[in-house]
């Protein structure tokens, strides 16, 4: 049982790492893409195995109710994105935006990123977590700069600087947590292991924990794209290859938020510590309102949805900040739904920008008429992300808003205002994109696969109607721990 789990865990880490190394040396980009898909599929299967067979926790790695669903989600989206990217990247090669050498580099970094994210999620050690997230940051910097255009380089540079700063702050917070744990648990590795920290968190020095949380929130919050730490996010999404935008929005933001939540669990396990809620509520609301306003003036379709990611990170952070079983459940659900939906949207956006040869919103019109599948897919994605039924985001927004209003009516008002604002501004942009008289530009043939997008939307639709029992049980369990 646990042997199988151990094997699965090893696969999750070793397959991407190995595939990444292999891909560096693989010259043929077609085989590279196939290997990429295959490795991602293997990781996904391993992640599914982990559901049934959880390995014993050790000082470095661990699988529990919290990370299991994120691991599955992570590898699922990585897999679908690799399928998407296989066809997407080929088109980039045809149009001459990339050379085969860069493609080799791209596939290698893709697997490396998958490794880093799996490591971050599996880590049972706050140091290891930090290392993994740092690694993921560095890899994504390279991926964002892939196109080598001035804009791409500049976006990568911005991402790199802000990301490094975030990482530095997070490290300081990590050290502070260790310092808080060390008097209670003694020196050495156990004082950095999640499960032990969690068990002893009640005896830690609350003041030190508070300070640590400030640094961790800002540090990992930068990676999660919370305003005012978000500046790297829109450009990195807009200038990198679209599969990377999908992975960034769908997965990396979740991983960063996961780290914040892990530390929030410590905070809530310590009764004397400052409740982290107000901080998270404040940052969440700020992100939501700010992103809502910024959506209105966007001219670039990928930047538009990048701001939408900021908005949703804001909602999720807000939900966890509110705390309580309902809001925490909603936050966890929203994390899942957002990553599925947003990556689906980016799949659609990727196709659209390839078909239309532009990312400028003002030059794209009437997609539902010219490309019905893409247009309606985008519409479905936007409706889903806006929290409308029959999609899953509706459920989480339902829980967040209603539970908040019952407890803190004054907090719910800005929340509702922000949701409405963001919806109005997002819809304003998308409406013109999807409807109206299509322009007569010759439509390039779409070769990319639409199945990843449809799969994600299907899953989100399913979740809106019915949630599987084990997932609910995990969420409930984690929601209690999150306080």
């Amino acid at each position: 049982m646990s042997a199988l789990g151990g094997l699965a865990m090893a696969v999750l880490l070793l397959v991407p790492a190995g595939a990444g190394l292999l891909l560096v040396g693989l010259a043929d980009y077609r085989r590279g893409a196939r290997l990429n898909v295959g490795a991602a599929l293997a990781s996904f299967v391993a992640a599914l195995l982990l559901i049934g067979a959880r390995p014993e926790a050790n000082l470095y790695l661990r699988v529990d109710d919290f990370n299991i669903y994120l691991i599955v989600l992570n590898n699922l989206v990585s897999f679908t994105t690799s399928v998407f990217s296989a066809s997407y990247i080929a088109h980039e090669l045809e149009t001459g935006k990339l050379t085969p050498a860069y493609l080799r580099f791209y596939h290698a970094t893709y697997q490396a990123l998958l490794f880093a994210m799996n490591l971050a999620l599996l880590a049972n050690n706050i140091g290891l977590l930090w290392v993994a997230i740092e690694l993921a940051t560095l890899i994504t910097v390279l991926m964002v700069g892939l196109y080598r255009t001035p804009a791409a380089l500049e976006a990568a540079w911005k991402y790199f600087i802000l990301g490094s700063l975030g990482i530095a702050l997070a490290l300081f917070g990590t050290i502070l947590v260790y310092l808080a744990a060390q008097p209670v648990m003694g020196q050495g590795l156990p004082a950095m292991a999640w499960d032990r920290l969690q068990a002893h968190a009640g005896q830690f020095d609350p003041a030190l924990l508070n300070l640590a949380f400030v640094f961790l929130l800002l540090g990992y919050g930068t990676k999660a794209g919370l305003a005012p730490l978000h500046a790297w996010l829109p450009d990195a999404h807009a200038e990198g290859p679209t599969p990377i935008s999908a992975v960034l929005s769908g997965l990396l933001l979740n991983v960063a938020l996961y780290a914040v939540l892990r530390f929030k669990m410590l905070m809530s396990a310590n009764p004397a510590a400052l409740a982290p809620g107000p901080l998270m509520v404040g940052l969440g609301l700020l992100s939501l309102l700010f992103a809502g306003l910024m959506l209105y003036r966007r001219g670039d379709i990928k930047r538009l949805f990048a701001y939408s990611s900021i908005e949703h990170m804001g909602i999720i952070t807000f939900a966890f900040g509110m705390g309580g079983p309902l809001a925490n459940f909603a936050g966890l659900l929203h994390m899942t739904m957002h990553s599925l939906t947003k990556s689906a949207i980016f799949f659609a956006v990727g196709h659209i920008s390839q078909v239309k040869g532009t990312q400028r919103i003002s030059t794209i019109r009437g997609l539902t008429a010219s490309h019905p599948l893409l247009g309606w897919g985008l519409i479905a994605g936007v409706i889903a992300i806006a929290g409308m039924p029959p999609f899953g985001v509706f459920m989480s927004e339902f829980l967040v808003v209603s539970s908040t209003f019952a407890r803190q009516p004054l907090l719910a008002l800005p929340l509702v205002l922000g949701l409405l604002l963001a919806f109005g501004t997002l819809l304003w942009r998308v409406h013109g994109l999807a409807f109206g008289v299509p322009d007569n530009a010759p439509a390039a043939p779409v070769q990319a696969s639409v199945w990843p997008m449809l799969t994600h939307l299907g899953l989100v639709l399913l979740a809106g109607i019915w949630l599987p029992g084990p997932l609910v049980a995990w969420f409930h369990h984690v929601a209690v721990l999150l306080g």
């Binding site: 209105y296 409308m388 019952a406 019915w466």
Partner: protein, 672 residues
Amino acid sequence: MLLTLLLVLLLVLLAAGGYGTVAPARPQGSRYLYSVSLAVCTVLLLLALAHLLSGREPLHLSLPLGLPWLGLHLRLDALSAFFLVVVNLGGAVASLFGLGYGAHEREPERVLPFYPAFLAGMNLVLLADDAFAFLFAWEFMSISSWALVMAHHREPANLRAGYLYLVMACFGTLALLLAFGLLAGVDGGYGFAAMRASQTPPALAALVLVLALLGAGSKAGLVPLHVWLPLAHPAAPSHVSALMSGVMTKVAVYGFIRIVFDLLGGESAVWWWGGLVLAAGGVTAVLGVLYALMQHDLKRLLAYHTVENIGIIFIGLGLALAFQANLMYFNAALALTAALFHVLNHSLFKSLLFLGAGAVLTATGERDMERLGGLIHRMPHTALAFLIGSAAISALPPLNGFVSEWMTFQAILNSPELPQWLLKFLVPAVGALLALSAALAAACFVKAFGITFLGRPRSPAAADAGETDRFSLSAMFVLAGLCLLAGVLPGLVVDGLGPVVGLLNGGARLTDQYHQPWLTLVPVGPLKSSYNGLLVMLFMAVSGVAAALLIHRFASSAVRRGPAWDCGFPDASPATQYTAGSFAQPIRRVFGSLVFQARERVTMPPPGDLRPARLEVELHDPVWERAYAPIAAAVIAVSTRANVLQYLTIRRYLSLVFGALVVLLLGMALWR
């Protein structure tokens, strides 16, 4: 068992929606789809009617869907059964109309998938018995109808309409969501049963009322939340317009009734709740009809009229709340019956009128009344049906619109017993508003029918129009017949509403009407007031026919055709007729300057100059200009300023992080 059957029928509708994605490619696909919708709606209608009339206990059903720890709860009680009747009656008739009308659709792939989904969404709202299912269905209904509004997306005006619609729908849903949040409480008791059982503190209950008014009101079209309605309803294909105006607004009314009368419970009502709803209803009624009078677009005129009628319904509901707050349950029953009766009536005649407008649209391609005219010659049957609808909505006896307004008046007349001073002033004022809106509605429909169907054609399209198809005609005549039936046999409808009113009113309901002599409607008591539509119709028919027979028999029956009196100016062109604009001009002068800041400018060329004189009319929409335009301007201004943040240097972004860190550290330092 019954509920399972209903649910299966809804699934059939959803499946039909799935078929709708491939139906446009098949030769008879559209026919099949509308036939299925028609059949399902008819069965649903009959089942709901049977349940309503049998007076059985509410049925429950729960399924392991939706919120995992809550499940999906469905309930069929008298209230939902009544609204199911309304919805599926409209749905069946619209589907019947669609059998013929659908053939004219240019882009059926944008209508067929969403049409059955829209019907299913509305039905599900009525069956939902927990907040999640309710809002789920509510939003589903909004989205599917939005997709239908966007069916003719190539016109820029429709783009705007759809956008505004969805944003307002989102606003409404959020308001309802907040209301349910309050009702559910901190522990999240989202089931309606739990909400009924729990006592909401008075302050929170008042908040729930306001939120319900905002949420349901924005969907129903209460002023000032109505702005989307006259844009969105006409933008959809006509049978969908009929559904949106005639039926979906009723679902919104249902939402309000469910939350306020059922979940909050009338016993927790405070008198000013009634006052608030009354005032909103009164203002809505008058403003709605005034807006309608200023319109020249036939479908938009009808949509504004929906706003007016929603106002009338809310007047009834407000009265009922005020009575309930003062424990005057009998009067509350009267007001509630009036409101629910009007719900039914409006769904009948508004659907009829929109279908008529749709028939005109397909026959002429025109919605602008200034380019219509004389259609009574080319489309006699449509004209007759539209005339019946116009008379009914103008509250003319012996048709149904009059009965519900009459009952609303009766409820108002019973209100001097209300002890609160504010209500004493408010109720007669609202009565005057109601009377005013009824009179203006008649004026409006003289205009709508007169300019569209009477006179001489104002454009070649109107001159060449032909009668519409049999399906469309039969749909319209079914509704016209029902308008007449509900008008002459109101007692039966009132009896049918009895269980609904009892459910919402602590058991108190009007006395049974069916045993009254001659099927007279005696809501309060024989000494107070009574009305018999049947006899009025008989008397009118007898005297009219008798007069005709007598005159034709004993006097003359000769007829000669000749040109109209030209006042010495031969060959008057159709342009010399009164137009919609000129018809409304006196009323615009009387009310428009007050409400719309109407200005007329006449540019008269000097003598000898051959240029035509010009008359320019400038109207301002007070609601849009005072409420919506400033909000939009503020959002644009703020986002333009915030947009600077997209173009900062990296150094400044770092400063932001730095600033956030310093602020938080300072907070930590000072907090202790």
